[in-house]
């Protein structure tokens, strides 16, 4: 009974999740819970399993063992097609390399996410770009935008479909400090609006603004710290 209660409360729960490539245990029996509205940072050195975990949480990969419960659904058991739908409906992705479609404008890149989700709505997409402060750059192609601006387009794209979780993989890895600041600010605002954020990062500065930090090492959850400097409001249910 107790377990069921936990399941209902947590937005995301990993239970003994392993990902094995041949002999390599990229993830080794990792368990964790993320509550709705939480802001979690995942840190760890290269090869610690960050990207694998990110892929699994982002429904782009399936664990070899264990259960991944997203909103109560075990994604390990879903078909590829359903995973695409879950990803589309519940997750917003932000990448280190931005990954914008080069021949579409900032606005169209945002609208593309709407298009695959439901129906593109130019006005709504425009509002999303306003939120990240890029309303005036909406008609520009990615090649005409700076790195920081491109990442902000990505943020706009990630949040356009009101996902349950925004998953960011090294979102500041390719940005200078000024732009890093802007993106982190954006995250803070998203958190204040109640969005669940999972940020994979190398950068301790980015990690320490989160509510808590999980540190991975050799595919295992090494330790967890509750960030003392966290300034945002804590919204635990």
């Amino acid at each position: 009974m107790g377990k069921d209660k936990v399941k209902r409360m947590s937005l995301l729960e990993l239970r003994n999740v392993s990902k094995i490539y041949g002999d390599l245990h990229a993830l080794d029996k990792v368990s964790l819970q993320v509550e709705k509205g939480e802001w979690v940072a995942i840190m760890g050195p290269s090869g610690s399993g960050k990207s694998t975990m990110m892929n699994i949480i982002g429904c782009m990969d399936k664990p070899s063992e264990g259960e991944v419960l997203l909103d109560g659904i075990d994604i390990a058991k879903e078909t590829a097609k359903n995973l695409t739908n879950i990803r589309r409906d519940k997750i917003g992705l932000i990448f280190q390399q931005f990954h914008l479609v080069s021949y579409l404008t900032a606005l169209e890149n945002v609208m593309m996410a709407q298009y695959y989700h439901s129906i593109p709505d130019e006005k709504e997409a425009m509002e999303a770009l306003e939120r990240v402060g890029l309303a005036d750059r909406a008609r520009h192609l990615p090649s005409q935008l700076s790195g920081g601006e491109q990442q902000r387009v990505c943020v706009a794209r990630a949040l356009i479909n009101y996902p349950e979780i925004i998953l960011a993989d090294e979102p500041t890895g390719n940005l200078d400090e000024a732009n890093e600041e802007i993106v982190v600010d954006l995250f803070r605002r998203l958190h204040e609006d109640g969005t669940t954020l999972i940020v994979v990062t190398h950068d301790p500065e980015v990690a320490e603004v989160a509510q808590r930090t999980l540190v991975l090492r050799n595919g295992r959850l090494d330790h967890e710290t509750i960030n003392p400097n966290f300034t945002g409001h804590i919204k635990l249910s």
């Binding site: 390399q97 931005f98 080069s102 790195g147 390719n174």
Partner: protein, 360 residues
């Protein structure tokens, strides 16, 4: 890389295949044109000549080019008291040199067999298997015909040519000799030679000058028309080859360009690692040229296979591999590949490595 190799191979295959066909067309088509029949005739310088003269003449012609030799001796014989032209010939030779003759029934094989022209058959109501009596009347004494000799022949076939051959009867030279009682001399000898017009003229001159007793002439109707048609056909294949080649080479080039452009990142990386433009260009070109070479070799082999297939299915004869074409194909492939790589590699080296690495 596989894509590039495949593209080069296709180009090389088409190049070597078409060029082989182009070179082979005159020979192969020339052989087809032999269906028009004799293109050279021997006539006697002193009225008549004999088989020895023919053999002496034929020796001047390459055996591989000689399609058929048909010696003819014409004598007037009487069949049912009507004068008919009888031609004594070598049946095998006639068959080869006049492939358009349509015989219903069989060609005569043995002595005592005869083939009659369609008109003769109609006049005397002859059919295959019938027998006919031919008499030879060398002289007439006043109004009276002195019959000299008489022979019975079996009609084996009826000849349909649409020409005046339909008015003749055909029998072997030996039979005609027996019927006339005179030693075989020839009136004319038809030859079918598979050679170009220039070559034929050379043969005719050589034979006329060197062989006493015979005069070699070309059948203008056949040789001139053949030259006219054949040169058009070859021009057609040449032009088609050029168009196809040009387009294929451009196709290969665009594919190579696409392949190299795809590797801009790699070029940027190398530059970032400190490679000079020259070394990048030489490295890429080397790779391209190697691909061009390999593709060229495989392509020329495949092209030969294709040409062989065409030759066998169209002309029923095989062609020999042209070794000279192999280096040409390889060189052309290398040049085309080289040019195709050159532009994109050059433009890629002009790009700032940082930009390329950041992902455009």
């Amino acid at each position: 890389m596989l894509v590039a190799l495949l593209a080069i191979m296709i180009g090389a295959t088409i190049l070597s295949g078409l060029v082989t066909i182009y070179y082979d067309v005159p020979r192969q088509m020339g052989a087809q044109f032999r269906s028009y029949g004799a293109n050279m005739i021997f006539t006697g310088t002193q009225e008549l000549f004999n088989m020895e003269d023919v053999e002496a003449g034929v020796r001047h012609i390459k055996a591989s080019e000689l399609v058929g030799v048909a010696p003819y001796r014409y004598e007037t014989v009487r069949i049912h008291d009507r004068p008919i032209m009888a031609a004594g010939t070598d049946m095998d030779g006639a068959r080869k040199s006049s492939p358009f003759w349509k015989v219903s029934g069989e060609w005569p094989k043995a002595d005592g067999e005869i083939m009659v022209g369609k008109n003769v058959a109609d006049t005397f109501r002859l059919r295959e298997g019938d027998s006919l009596i031919a008499t030879f009347a060398p002289e007439t004494d006043g109004d009276e015909i002195i019959l000299d000799n008489e022979m019975t022949f079996i009609v084996t076939g009826i000849l349909d040519t649409g020409g005046n051959e339909e008015d003749y009867v055909y029998l072997s030279l030996d039979d005609l000799e027996e019927l006339t009682g005179e030693e075989t001399t020839l009136d004319v000898c038809e030859l079918s030679v598979s050679a170009s017009a220039d070559q034929l003229t050379a043969y005719a001159d050589a034979i006329s000058n060197n062989v006493e007793g015979i005069n070699a002439r070309l059948v203008k109707r056949v040789t001139q028309s053949e030259t006219a048609v054949l040169s058009k056909l070859q021009a057609l294949v040449l032009l088609v080859t050029i168009v196809v080649l040009a387009l294929t080479m451009i196709c290969v080039a665009t594919t190579m360009t696409a392949v190299v452009t795809e590797r801009r990142k790699e070029i940027g990386l190398r530059k970032a690692l400190g490679a000079s433009d020259a070394s990048i260009i030489s490295e890429f070109m080397g790779e391209g040229l190697l691909l061009g070479g390999i593709g060229g070799v495989f392509g020329s082999l495949l092209g030969f296979v294709f040409a062989q297939v065409v030759s066998v299915s169209v002309f029923n004869s095989s062609i020999s591999f042209r070794f000279g074409l192999l280096p040409i194909t390889v060189i052309v492939s290398i040049i085309v590949t080289g040019i195709a790589c050159m532009l994109p590699v050059k433009s890629a080296t002009n790009v700032d490595p940082a930009l390329v690495l950041k992902g455009e």
